[in-house]
Every structure is written in C-alpha cells, then in structure tokens.
Assembly symmetry: C2
Homo-oligomer: 389 residues x 2
C-alpha cells in the first residue's frame, strides 16, 4: 500500500491524495459506504461503481458471526464473495463488541462476549481480530481497539487508551500478510486532548501504514470531535492516510477535511433512506410527509441521480407507504449519490483552493432550505393538512 | 390496438404474434410481471427492460386504495408515475375484492367492500372499474367480473357467469377512450365446459379487442384448467389476443400456448424470490437450505443472468439469512429472467415448429433435476447435516 498526497491547501490542512491498494486506487478524500454483511444495504455493486465509490467497508463482527470468516475464505475471500473487485476496508469488530453486545468481559488479553445468534461465548483478542481479517482478505484492516463511550472519566479513558496501544502493538506482530493488507491503528483518548496527543504519538512510534481516529460520532458534542481532530491530525505523518471512523454527514466531511482527514464511513445515508429520509442541498426531507402526496417534483431539483431524474416525490412517498423495496433502493441510491457528490465537490475545492467558497455555498444552501421548509410548512397549515411524520 | 398473429403451428393451436399498443409493441406469447402498487416488487423499470419485458401489469384495486387513481391521473398517469414508458395492463380490481376483502355485498349493480386501509365503504361497479382504469391510463384495461372460487356448484357458477356477461356489456358502454385503451372481457364459468363455452360465445358477441380466461389458478386441478382452455380458446376469434389470468409457471405456459394462449401474468416469480426460492431448469431451489452454506456454484449453472454470472449459492443464502434487501433483488431478477427466458424459448419453438421438442427437453430437465436433488439430499444425510427449510 502507498499513499500519495497530491494537492494541499495553504489556509488549512486539507489535501487530496491517492491511496494505492491491492484492488485499485482510491482518490481521497473518500467516503466508504458501509456493507455490514458483505452488502451495502439495498444496493448492488454495479450501482456503487456507477455512483463512483472506489472502496467499501465491511464489518468483521457481523461477518465473523455470519456466515463466518472461514466460509468466506474458502469461497475465495470477501471480494469474490460479494462480487466487489475494488478495495475493501474491514473494521476490527471492536466497536460492535462494545456497542452491540450486552454482556462482555474485558481483560488485558481481549474481550469475551456472547454471540447474539446462538449465545456461544466468543473471545476476541487483537491476534484473533487480525486472523479473522486475514481470512476475509480486505485491502485495509483495523487493529482491535477499545472504543470508549461518551461521556467517559479521565482515568478509565487513560486505561482504555493504554489498552488500545498495547493491542495495536500485538496486532502489528500478529499481522504477517503486510504485502496484501494494510493494518491501520486507531487513536483513542476520548475528549481529553493530552490523551489524544499521547495516543497519536505512541501509535505513530509503532509505525503503521495508516491511522484512524476512533471514539468519534459516539454522542459527543461536535465541537469535541473537531477539537480531537485539531490535536491528533497534525501529529500523524503526512504520508499516511487519516481516517475519521463513523463520520459523518457531508457538513462534517468539510470540517474534517480542513483538519487533514482523508477517509470517512457512515451508515446514515443508507440507514435513513430505509426510513424514508433523503439528503438534499441544505438539509434532509422526510418523504413520508403528507405534503408530498401529490408533489410532482424530484427529491432534490438540482440532483442528477437516476432517482431524481425519473421519479417524483409523490411516487417515492407512495412506494414508502406501500412498503415497496424499490423505495429503499431509490432513496439509498440518491443518498449515496448525494454523499459522493459532496465528497467530489470537496475534492475539487481542495484542488482549486476554494474550500472556503464551498463552505459559504453550503451555508447559503442551508439557509435557503430552512426558509423554503418554513414556507411550505405554513402552506400545509393554511391548507389544514396534517403531517404524518 | 391491433393484434397481428405471425406464426402458427400445424399440430397445435400455438401461435406467435405482435400486440400493437399505444406505448409500444408486445411480442406474444408474453409474460407480464406483476407490479401491484405501480412497482414490480424489488425491481427497477430499467431491470425489467434489461430482462426483456415489454408489458407489465398493475393492480387497480391496490392503486385505487393507495395512492388513489385521481392522484395518479393528476401526476400524468400510471406510465409517468412509475417511470415505465412501455405498455401496461391493469386488472379490474374484481379479483382482489373477491379474494382479499373479507366483508362484501354483491348485487347485480356491483360489489361493496370495506377499504382495508381505513374501513371506508367502497362500491365498485363495472362503470366505476372502467372510470378508475381510464384515470390510470393503462394500454389494456379489464372489464369487472366475478371470479368464482373453486370449488363452485353449477347454479352459482351459472349465475356468476351471467353477472360477468352483464358487467362486460356495461363496461363496454362505459368505456369511451377506446383509441387509447383496449378493453378486454373475461370468460368465467368455473369448471363447467357448457358454461365456459356459453360465456365465451356471448362475450365474443359483445365484440371486444381481447379476451381473458379468468377463474384459473384459484386452486382447481391443473387438468381442469387445461380443459377450460380446450373449450374456450377455439371459440375466441383468432385475430384477438387471449390472456390466461394468473397463469402460471413456465411449465403451464407451454401447455397453455399449445392451446392458443398469448398472454400470462403471475406473482410467483417475484413472491417466492422474497422467500428465498429460485426457479431453475427442472425445478425450484430453496436458497435457505443448509446444503448451500459453502456452495460456490451459481443458482442455475446454465443461466446467464447477472445473479448467476456473479454470485454463489453460498452468498445468496447468506444474504437471505441476514435479511438483506439485495437477496430479494438478486433472486427476483433471476426468477423473472428465468420466466422470460422460458417464454422466449416457447416463442422460438413455435416459430421453428419444434414445441414438442421443447416439451421433451423440459421433461428431461425435470427428471435430471429430481435425480440430482435426491443425490444431494442423500449426501447431506450422510454428512449428518440438517436442513433448515
């Protein structure tokens, strides 16, 4: 794996680059759609390519439980299994163990939890997380970490950071397929700048091909997230990619990129689509809203995705109300297209040195959207029309 | 609307033809996928075109209830609403009133039932069924009929046939958009040859651009269905299309085509796909079966659809077990592709005069499939492997 920074801006840490991986190049900044069970929910791999994605994320925790990493290895690895020949990143499974499994026992050695499928005890160690990810065969794999919840006191945050650093070293020792898979370490330290800084420095000493910032998007105020990035990003080597785990919205991307972040992943565009919510310039729209019942306009009048080119809000609302799978498909496509479009705009703005113009444009769009929403809500009320959201 | 018969066979009533409709030509025999709520479940219109479908069916009953035929008319009609610019056929809603709605009151004038959405009383008459379908704007619309259940005594079957004939006349009088929409009548008469024959003759006297045979696929033995066709089809004019409503499987198509049928529709390929069942040469496969857990082969090794080109049984089983929408998509695509492939083979066999060869080939495939299934089941049992179907 090689990371080649390309453009840098003068007034911020923003940059573009290319991440060269065994299954292809990834232009950064990049957003990775989440394919938990080796499928991005409601999407086909062809659609992901069409939208422009160059890398997807899959979840080690879920795939270990079902269908099992040995099964996937025997079937030729994750790429062949899910029919995605481009790069893949797998997480370590740690985040899910700490956020999804109720009962767990944490020791220095690893973490024990019960499978939600059959209750079987599973002991996940840094070595085992690497072994599982070796079997899956993603281009980028993640070291097992402890993701601290928010809020978290200083003392447990410090203990957790030490654990994560120890696990990062053990992960590196356990990982031998370094030519085929790049192992990233994860910076923890909760909202404490001194812990974040110490974690970043010591992780850099371990010397890994890429670094992630974890423990973000876990409920902390946005300012705390940005402060963590302000502390951490400058301490990470410029020739290695930086990944903000679980972040976020297009608006977050802009602020993170200005702080030197290259990679993002988030379940929001796919998850909210299945609940009828669409990202549009300046905000989001809930297609279940009664005001769309006879609305012939597309979701977003400036969007060029097939959903917006071919379907009305009225039809999309109808599909959602009728429980049609096509509703999830069309909204997911639109949301992912919107996210990718935002990333591409950010990339171009970095190249053109015009990030601040883009920021101003997005702020204006937000204001316009709010005004329009207010006007349309008042119209609904004048018409005595209820809303079912 | 014009129907042009093209090829005829010498040893059966089988034929090919072209149905010229306002939104395009439909080569017959044709299978119409069912798009109940103005969407073929799990499919996009582009995928339907890619598979080769030239006409789809939509359900008047469901669309009248939700989102309403006036809404669809105001949005530019059904074609624009669902982004399908090719021909559409809508049924009359009668079948659903009689099969889905619990409480209903039938008079000579029409049938009253309660909306399953809000309990509101709806009175459906032949005139209203035409009016609703005029608003939807499909290329082919159906006269309201009473679909008798199976079994049905002679006397009620006769009364029902009379009702259906009276409603057909009223439908014809109510339908004024004859240039834009072709109204088909429906032959009823249950399993009684004399009723079927009388209904066909009197319906032909009414003079409609196409004729359907209804009351099939309602639980009667297959032989009864074929006998009804044997009686009815020869009585229908050769220059009008014949449509076997709700029929059936590819094996049924062959037998119906031999009896002179041109059009089919059936929910099976889409419905069973969502339950994990795939049509393959010679039979069906339930992808939930444990034996597929590590099976790297495609669903059907002779199939050229994208699902079979790109995905293993193991992956499809995994997607289904994980509840992924992509499972419904890939299996639905395969099943519809399989149905269309069978129709195209039948069409070519009619043209080549080789229907009996095709029949023999399908019989052989069925035997081979049964043998293979037996062998694989025994292997599973030898391996002590349970099945979860």
């Amino acid at each position: 794996m090689r990371f080649e920074p390309l453009h840098r801006t003068h007034d911020s840490a923003a940059r573009t680059g290319v991440l060269r991986l065994p299954h292809g190049d990834v232009r950064t900044p990049a957003f990775m759609p989440v394919g938990t069970y080796a499928a991005v929910k409601a999407m086909s791999p062809e659609e992901l390519l069409e939208i422009g994605f160059e890398i997807v994320l899959a979840n080690t925790y879920h795939l270990h439980l079902r269908p099992g990493d040995e099964t996937i290895r025997d079937l030729g690895g994750l790429h062949r299994f899910m029919h995605w020949e481009r790069p893949i990143l797998t997480d370590s499974g740690g985040f899910q163990v700490f956020s999804l499994s109720g009962l767990r026992r944490l020791t220095d050695d690893g973490v024990e939890f019960a499978s939600p499928l059959d209750g079987a005890k599973i002991f996940l160690t840094p070595e085992k997380a690497v072994e599982i990810q070796n079997r899956l065969g993603a281009d980028v794999i993640m070291a097992l970490d402890e993701c601290t919840p928010f809020p978290c006191e200083f003392a447990p945050a410090r203990r957790s950071m030490e654990l994560t650093l120890g696990w990062a070293e053990r992960s590196k020792r356990a990982h031998t397929r370094t030519d085929e898979q790049a192992l990233f370490g994860i910076v923890q330290g909760s909202v404490y700048p001194e812990l974040r800084a110490e974690c970043a420095r010591r992780l850099v000493d371990i010397d890994l091909p890429g670094y992630a910032i974890g423990g973000l998007s876990v409920g902390e105020p946005k300012q705390a997230m940005l402060e963590a990035l302000d502390v951490v990003a400058p301490l990470l080597p410029a020739d290695r990619p930086r990944y903000a785990m679980g972040v976020g919205t297009p608006w977050d991307f802009l602020e993170c990129v200005e702080r030197g972040i290259d990679l993002f992943d988030c379940v929001m565009p796919t998850r909210v689509a299945r609940n009828g919510r669409a990202y549009v310039r300046g905000g989001t729209r809930n297609i279940r809203n009664a005001r769309y019942t006879r609305d012939p306009r597309p979701l977003d009048e400036t969007c060029e995705c097939p959903t917006c080119r071919n379907y009305s809000r009225a039809y999309l609302r109808h599909l959602h109300q009728a429980g049609e799978i096509l509703s999830a498909r069309l909204l997911t496509y639109h949301n992912l297209h919107f996210f990718q479009d935002c990333i591409v705009r950010i990339r171009r703005a970095v190249e053109a040195g015009s990030l601040s113009l883009l920021r101003a444009e997005w702020t204006r769009e937000e204001a316009t959207f709010r005004e329009l929403e207010t006007a349309e809500t008042e119209e609904d009320e004048d018409a005595g029309e209820g809303q079912d959201t």
